[in-house]
């Protein structure tokens, strides 16, 4: 298996390298068979990567300790789910994951056939394969995931119990999805720069933008998960330490935020378009640089794991990217039109936003690299304490927040005499004064947050009243996009509220207590009641019972604990937290003396901290809404882009747009068209369904694996269900596509498959009972599932039978 993996990697390297050559040659010479070969080679490379990834997974699950990666990151007793997540526990596995995801995304994004697309996709693929070649080289010659152990030990080293936490299991892959997805806008940029004609740059722009949205969303999830884990598990009451590893995910996130805002509209040749392109390349290279930083120990950090190696390859890759980008930008400049295309007047706010974000990212980057840089110029290494970052990021964040509040309005209406414009100036000045006079930046934050909240509320109200007076003439997709973006902004606002509250007004106390003693902190009084010891198979857990009093009333009982592992000498502590929207009361048991029952407690009060997590969730939900909205409009854009593509001269290639001349229904009928509920059905099955399925599968995965120890049957059931559901998901994607393209016979097909899906849902209900789990526990879930599928079927089956829109759009609906 290991040799298979290694062979797959080498084959992948060859295919990627070959793909670069044929794609570039095909682009230059305009030969479509070369371009098709490039596309196939890239798909072949994806296949190789899939083989390699699956091979590594098999080795991990089998606990094959002859492979050193397996030995380093798993052990025999490790739960199954963590054996699987061990794929990304180490440098080589995560690089493999990144490359696999990236190649998959590239194949998805750049395989569109049709006039004009092939050449464009070819150069985009070449850019992506450039990166792939370097990654392959690292995987083969430096960090080989399939390297052999020196000797085959009987058991592996296992995973640090601290890392055996769902948030930590999901944190790396979500980040890597983000990093890999940023390859799409990067590759698009390289392809767009090569096309001298500005109109050509529009090709596939929407794709690049949508992918950057997806990437940003996942990056946000990844960072949030990391912060959440740090807060829950590390016991220091904090969630962000400005460590180089943390910063290397934050810095690309900042430039990516700027990237997103540049993607609102695209006018080829405008300055915003240039910003978008530069930011796309910048963000992706920062992702690569960040990985280089953390894996090659450029900066010493408690999280950086310097492994000597060919780190230089990453640097060489970055140099390649920027040299080529520089040449392309110059080329475009020299050969393109000299007058810049006029862009909207409101764009300058986006430019301010961009500058601020890029500046912030730069300052954080410099701070992170400071020890390295100072080591170059002086004999001693100077590191910057985390204060540096907080002192810079906090005011910077404040300005960003203010811009967030006012710029969307200014974008539309400019600097007019409105309470908003005056309010912004007033609030800005007030915040500064408050900061200087009160000395507390957090209060200034609250002032600005209040103003931004008002702005957002006003936005919602105005939008709602406008819709009512306009008579609801707006398309679902347009307003969904607007609402989604607003939800993201609300999420950002709430996150800042949480950060300001917990950062500016937190209290920390170190207590030494004997049983019966009490201590005061904030509004609470803590009474240390007693100590309890539990003995497990390889550990002893000591739990302290601490009652929480507010005034005379006992409001809570908290049980922070410490577990001592006799065999390895390790200890882990579990904090206990009293969570409310107003704040957290966080208890960490740091020291215990069993004899005297004397304990050391570290207590934190963190006001408003839960708003950070709420805000993060909203940011992701909002992003999902925007992506869904954009998914809805992409069909119309496709037709428009096709028209542009037709003016291209390429060798006759088969027109890949589905259905040259579909049999349309009554086009005169106002109800005609894939709109309304029909469109909802299509979008849900094509985009939302698969995403939900993926999430459900992962969560189910985790859940199943946790139960697998006790109920091994559930693994089998789970795999069967997953396999069949994949089949159904793919089937429904196809049907939805045919619905969208108004293919013949699709309504009958849809009805038939609705029936088949229902049949499967009903028949598979008893499956889960065969896993051996307690029937009572499963009953509720099974009934819920059955009910949902029956209702869903009833609704959609009737829809396809009675809907006037369906009858108007599909002429053969009743055949």
């Amino acid at each position: 298996m290991g040799e298979l993996g290694q062979f797959a990697l080498r084959l992948g390297l060859f295919l990627s390298g070959y793909a670069i050559l044929v794609d570039l040659l095909g682009f230059w010479r305009n030969r479509s068979e070369l371009l098709r070969s490039g596309r196939n080679a890239t798909m072949g490379s994806l296949l190789c990567l899939t083989v390699a990834t699956v091979a590594l997974w098999v080795l991990l699950v089998r606990s094959d300790f002859s492979i050193s990666y397996v030995t380093e990151h798993t052990s025999l007793k490790l739960p199954l789910v963590y054996k699987l997540t061990a794929l990304w526990a180490g440098a080589s596995g995560s690089l493999l994951l990144w490359l696999w995801l990236q190649t998959g995304f590239v194949v998805l994004a750049f395989s569109k056939s049709g006039e004009g697309y092939e050449r464009f996709s070819g150069s985009a693929r070449a850019a992506a394969n450039l990166v792939a070649v370097f990654f392959f080289l690292v995987l083969i010659f430096d960090k080989d995931p399939f390297g052999l152990s020196v000797t085959t030990p009987r058991d592996g080293a296992g995973l640090n119990p601290l890392l055996q936490h769902p948030a930590m299991a999901l944190h790396p892959p979500t980040l890597f999805v983000g990093y890999a997805a940023f390859a799409i806008p990067y590759a698009w940029t390289f392809a767009a720069l090569k096309r001298v004609d500005p109109k050509q740059s529009l090709l596939l722009f929407e794709r690049a933008r949508n992918w950057s949205l997806l990437a940003w969303g996942f990056l946000t999830i990844g960072i949030a998960l990391g912060a959440w884990w740090a807060y829950e598990e590390l016991g220091w009451g904090g969630y962000w330490a400005w460590d180089p590893v943390e910063n290397s995910s934050l810095i690309p996130w900042l430039t990516a935020t700027a990237l997103l805002h540049c993607g609102r509209t695209f006018r080829a040749g405008s300055r915003i378009a240039t910003w978008f392109m530069v930011l796309a390349v910048l963000t992706f290279s920062l992702c690569i640089f960040g990985t280089f930083l953390t894996r090659y120990g450029l900066v010493s950090s408690v999280h950086a794991f310097p492994e000597p190696g060919l780190g230089i390859l990453f640097l060489v890759l970055l140099i390649h990217i920027w040299v080529i980008a520089g040449i392309l930008f110059l080329y475009r400049r020299l050969r393109g039109k000299s007058d810049p295309v006029k862009q909207g007047a409101g764009m300058r706010f986006i430019v301010w936003n961009n500058w601020l974000l890029v500046l912030l990212a730069f300052v954080i980057l410099v701070g992170t690299l400071f020890p390295f840089l100072s080591g170059l110029v002086s004999s001693r290494q100077i590191s910057l304490k985390s204060e540096y970052f907080t002192k810079i990021a906090a005011p910077g964040g404040l300005v960003l927040l203010l811009l967030l509040g006012i710029c969307p309005y200014l974008l539309r209406h400019g600097f007019n005499r409105s309470w908003r414009t005056f309010g912004a100036v007033f609030v800005g000045v007030a915040a500064m004064l408050v900061w200087v006079l009160a000395g507390k930046l957090a209060i200034a934050y609250f002032v600005v947050c209040g103003f931004v909240g008002l702005n957002l509320a006003a936005d919602f109200v105005q939008r709602y009243t406008r819709r009512r007076t306009d008579g609801g003439a707006e398309r679902l997709s347009g307003s969904l996009r607007w609402y989604g973006a607003r939800v993201v902004h609300v999420g950002v606002l709430l996150t800042f509220v949480g950060i300001a509250g917990s950062g500016g007004f937190d209290i920390e106390k170190q207590l030494a207590l004997r049983p019966g003693e009490r201590a005061q902190i904030g509004d609470f009084e803590l009474a240390y009641d007693d100590l309890k010891a539990d003995h497990g198979p390889n550990f002893t857990a000591i739990t302290a019972a601490v009652s929480v009093y507010k005034g005379a009333e006992r409001i809570d009982l908290l049980s922070p604990s410490v577990a001592f592992y006799a065999q390895s000498g390790k200890r882990t502590s579990e904090v206990d937290v009293r969570r409310t929207l107003a704040g957290d009361l966080y208890l960490a048991l740091t020291e215990v003396d069993n004899a005297s029952k004397l304990i050391n407690l570290t207590v934190y009060i963190k006001p408003l901290i839960n708003w950070i997590w709420i805000g993060n969730i909203l940011m992701v939900v909002g992003t999902g809404l925007v992506i869904a909205a954009l998914g809805m409009v992409s069909d119309n854009q496709t037709e428009r882009s096709n028209q542009i593509g037709e003016t291209q001269q390429t060798n006759p290639s088969h027109n890949g747009v589905a259905g040259g001349q579909p049999t349309h229904g009554d086009t005169g009928n106002p109800l005609y068209g894939v709109k309304g509920w029909l469109k909802v059905f299509v979008v849900v099955n094509m985009y939302i369904g698969p995403v939900l399925f993926a999430i459900q599968t992962i969560m189910g995965f985790v859940g199943f694996a946790m139960l697998a120890e006790d109920y091994p049957g559930i693994v089998v059931v789970g795999l069967i269900e997953a396999a069949v559901r994949i089949f159904f998901v793919v089937k429904w994607i196809k049907i939805a596509g045919r619905l969208r393209d108004i293919a013949p016979g699709v309504v009958q097909e849809a009805k038939k498959w609705l029936l088949i899906t229902l049949a499967w849902n009903v028949l598979s209900t008893p499956l889960v009972f065969m896993s051996g789990m307690d029937a009572e526990d499963l009953m509720v879930g099974a009934i819920k599932g059955l009910f949902t599928s029956i209702v869903g079927f009833a609704i959609w089956y009737s829809y396809f039978n009675v809907s006037k829109r369906v009858k108007a759009t599909y002429p053969d609906w009743n055949k």
Binding site: V302, I382, S383, E387, Y388, I392, N600
Partner: protein, 132 residues
């Protein structure tokens, strides 16, 4: 007219850029800390800078004393050649144990004991493991 526009932009950049640059510089001035390994520090004659600085070393086996009454931790920070006693009051990370690489930040007290404000331990075993 055109020069006027350019002058305005230039002036804006200088003012804003200068302001930000000055601000960043000031922040840096107050937040930097020298980073030494214990051996380097000893070799440099144990001269203490005015501000707090960082020391990196390993926790010497057998030197860890946990003073529960005062919620204080004492241990010896060892390098390859030199070592230094350390006192720390605060949250102790779970993975703090003997032979662990740690970084402390603080000042050297007159008695020759390092008073640490911050204690950071190297995250273990996720990426690099010594397999026994």
């Amino acid at each position: 007219m055109k020069t006027k526009g350019i002058v305005k932009i230039l002036a804006g950049i200088i003012v804003i850029g200068g302001g930000i640059g000055y601000f960043v510089y000031q922040t840096m001035q107050s937040s930097w800390a020298y980073y030494y390994s214990v051996d380097d520090f000893a070799a440099a004659g144990q001269r203490t800078p005015e501000q707090s600085f960082r020391l990196a070393g390993t926790v010497k086996a057998g030197s860890v004393v946990r003073n529960l009454e005062q919620a204080k931790l004492e241990f010896t920070l060892a390098g390859a050649k030199a070592e230094l006693p350390v006192q720390y009051k605060g949250v102790v990370p779970d993975n703090f144990t003997e032979d662990r690489e740690v970084v402390v930040e603080g000042r050297l007290a007159p008695a020759g004991v390092f008073q640490a404000d911050t204690l950071m331990t190297r995250c273990e075993s996720k990426y690099q493991v010594k397999v026994k």
